[in-house]
């Protein structure tokens, strides 16, 4: 893959670029600055909440025909029922209520909804990864397959394939397939293409010298694959797996939108937007963000362990 070639899943709706990720790994001592930036974000969030919700407060006061002081405005804007922008502590309270304070089997528990979405995400991710790796192996070992399929796999990253999601859900619904599987299929095809592209670059990454050495050992195609190409592809595979799992989550969430599903994080976003429950939207959004971060983190952890065991850690 050339230096400027994107290694990301833009067709899937996340913007993680592999090269920036590599760059970040080299940067140490970031805890202080990151904390400062996060703190600044919270300050901005609070200020924006006061500013955006103040209109409602002023309207209410005007209706009741009384004037409000600035401190009253601040107090009110941070504690409205349906604020335009909920304050961080309101979202935190909602998260506490729906994550820790409800039984996980209840429909009001966010853990329950997150699990619905995560199960589809992980199923689809597993399917997409396995199929993607198989296709990559085929592409590397078969010239006709390489020339026929590879251009389409790359081109597919430039088109918004996420737009097909509603149709897949509804069509599968009409032939009687419901629940987890349609969402998993969307997740699978979103994770499929980044894995194919990354794995092909990985399997092609051994240098001519290394391949020649295998040849002097008179290694068979299978031996070259198992002993050289597959191990060499691991760093590339993991880079695309991180992209793919984030894409899978986006797919599962968007897959919950079109049928008006009542379960899952996407359903929480949708019902929140129907009923103007902004706090619910924000808590679902943060939960989705936490899930994405956790899954990318877990893949990263596995990556570190595997690469260290293989002696490839950079």
């Amino acid at each position: 893959m050339s230096l400027t070639g994107p290694l990301a899943a833009p067709g899937a709706g996340t913007g993680r670029s592999g090269r920036v990720g590599l760059m970040l790994r080299g940067m140490g001592r970031t805890a202080g600055p990151v904390l400062a930036v996060v703190a600044a974000l919270f300050v901005i969030w609070y200020a924006a909440a006061v500013w955006m919700n103040s209109q409602w407060t002023l309207d209410q006061a005007a209706r009741a025909d009384r004037t409000v002081t600035f401190s009253e405005i601040v107090a009110d804007t941070l504690n409205q029922d349906r604020p335009k922008l909920p304050a961080p502590h309101q979202v935190a309270v909602e998260l506490y209520d729906t994550v820790l304070d409800k039984p996980v089997t209840s429909r009001r528990s966010l853990v329950f909804h997150a699990w619905i979405t995560l199960s589809a995400t992980l199923t689809g991710f597993a399917i997409g990864t396995v199929l993607g790796m198989l296709l990559a192996v085929g592409i590397v070992h078969n010239r006709a397959m390489d020339m026929s399929v590879m251009p389409w796999a790359i081109a597919s990253q430039t088109i918004p394939i996420l737009a097909i999601a509603p149709m897949i859900i509804v069509v599968l619904n009409s032939v009687g397939v419901q629940g987890l599987l349609p969402k998993a299929i969307i997740s699978a095809y979103l994770s499929f293409f980044p894995v194919v592209v990354g794995m092909v670059s990985g399997l092609r990454s051994p240098e001519t010298q290394q391949l020649d050495l295998m040849k002097t050992y008179s290694a068979s195609d299978g031996q070259v694959f198992w002993k050289l190409r597959l191990p060499a592809s691991m760093p590339y595979l993991f880079a695309s797996l991180k992209v793919a799992i984030a894409a899978s989550l986006v797919g599962a969430i968007v897959g919950e939108l079109p049928t008006g599903a009542v379960r899952g994080l996407g359903a929480r976003l949708l019902s929140g937007s129907y009923y103007g429950q902004t706090v619910q939207i924000w808590s679902a959004l943060l939960m989705a963000a936490a899930c994405a971060a956790a899954m990318v983190g877990i893949v990263g952890l596995i990556q570190r362990v595997v690469l260290r065991r293989m002696g490839m850690e950079r």
Binding site: T4, G15, P33, S174, A293
Partner: protein, 305 residues
């Protein structure tokens, strides 16, 4: 199987494939016909990819794509697949021909007003912010991990919030696009601006170049490959953001609106028509940015032929 290495018909793999088609044709002639077309086209590609002639890098994938369309058409027609499950490519083409003005209206609403506006604003803001924080290593060390983290999140989830803030029309779609592309382009620009060697910067100092001269003549040009890397990924994100945001509410036009309502009416030919338009628009957008990149970073090793 080493396609192309052995002459056709002699290798056991191909013999097996032909035998399979024959058996399938006896069991179900429609399956046999579909498989025969598939094997035939594949054999053609196997031969062609073994030869070397100018343009084969275009011909082979084109044959593969056309074959998929033909197989799709055959399967739908031979097995009488109902149009509410999978319309045939000809049905979709007919739909595109008939409702050209609807598709054009949706394209203008979603792509030109929503995606393109948001893309320009988001990318412009990201590059501007990256240059603003360029002189503060503290802010960079803080913003780069945060931005990279945010870029990996399902930002599309902010769509319902932004639709609530900015209304149903294209402004909210542009806002979603701004949020989706901003962090991606920001981290790529910051990383790109750091992409010069100490030797190069030292050379600029020996010329007594000022900060702005160094930025303008060395560091921005050197950052261009990475900036364009982000800009290219952002093209597709922009289109996705604009389409998916319409699922949360839109005026009665737009590609996302048309997809979600046509799916509800089981008018799948319309859905596929919109998807075709989205695919063409997405590739063209990406291609346009890639062409600009080629013009701007003509000096970069990856652009050499």
């Amino acid at each position: 199987m080493r396609a192309g290495a052995a002459p056709l018909g002699l290798s056991p793999g191909w013999l097996g494939a032909f035998a399979g088609v024959a058996v399938a044709a006896v069991v179900d002639w429609r399956l046999g016909a579909v498989l025969a077309v598939w094997i035939g086209a594949w054999a053609a590609n196997a031969v062609l990819s073994g030869l070397s002639f100018p343009g084969r890098r275009l011909v082979v994938p084109a044959i593969f794509g056309v074959t998929l369309l033909v197989l799709w058409q055959m399967t739908v027609r031979l097995y009488d697949v109902p149009g509410v499950i999978l319309p045939a490519p000809t049905d979709i083409a007919a739909r595109i021909a008939v409702s050209g003005d609807i598709l054009w209206g949706d394209f203008v609403q979603t792509f030109v007003k929503g995606a393109l506006t948001g893309y320009v604003m988001g990318c412009g803001a990201a590059v501007a912010v990256a240059i603003l924080i360029d002189r503060s290593p503290f802010l960079q060390r803080g913003l780069l991990p945060v931005g990279n983290f945010v870029a990996a999140l399902p930002i599309i989830g902010t769509a319902p919030i932004l639709v609530m803030w900015f209304g149903f029309d294209w402004q909210s779609k542009a806002a979603v696009v701004v949020v989706m592309v901003f962090f991606l382009v920001l981290v790529n620009t910051v990383a790109g601006l750091a992409d010069t060697g100490a030797m190069q910067r030292d050379l600029m100092r020996t010329y007594a170049a000022s900060y702005w001269q160094t930025l303008w003549k060395l560091r921005l040009p050197a950052a261009m490959p990475m900036i364009f890397n982000g800009l290219k990924i952002a093209t597709t994100l922009a289109l996705i953001g604009a389409i998916v945001a319409e699922f949360f509410g839109s005026p009665i036009r737009g590609m996302g609106f048309r997809i979600s309502t046509a799916v509800g009416q089981l008018a799948l030919d319309m859905v596929w028509a919109e998807i075709a338009v989205a695919a063409v628009a997405g590739s063209a957008f990406y291609g346009a940015v890639a062409a600009i990149q080629r013009a701007v970073t003509f000096w970069h090793p990856s652009m050499r032929r």
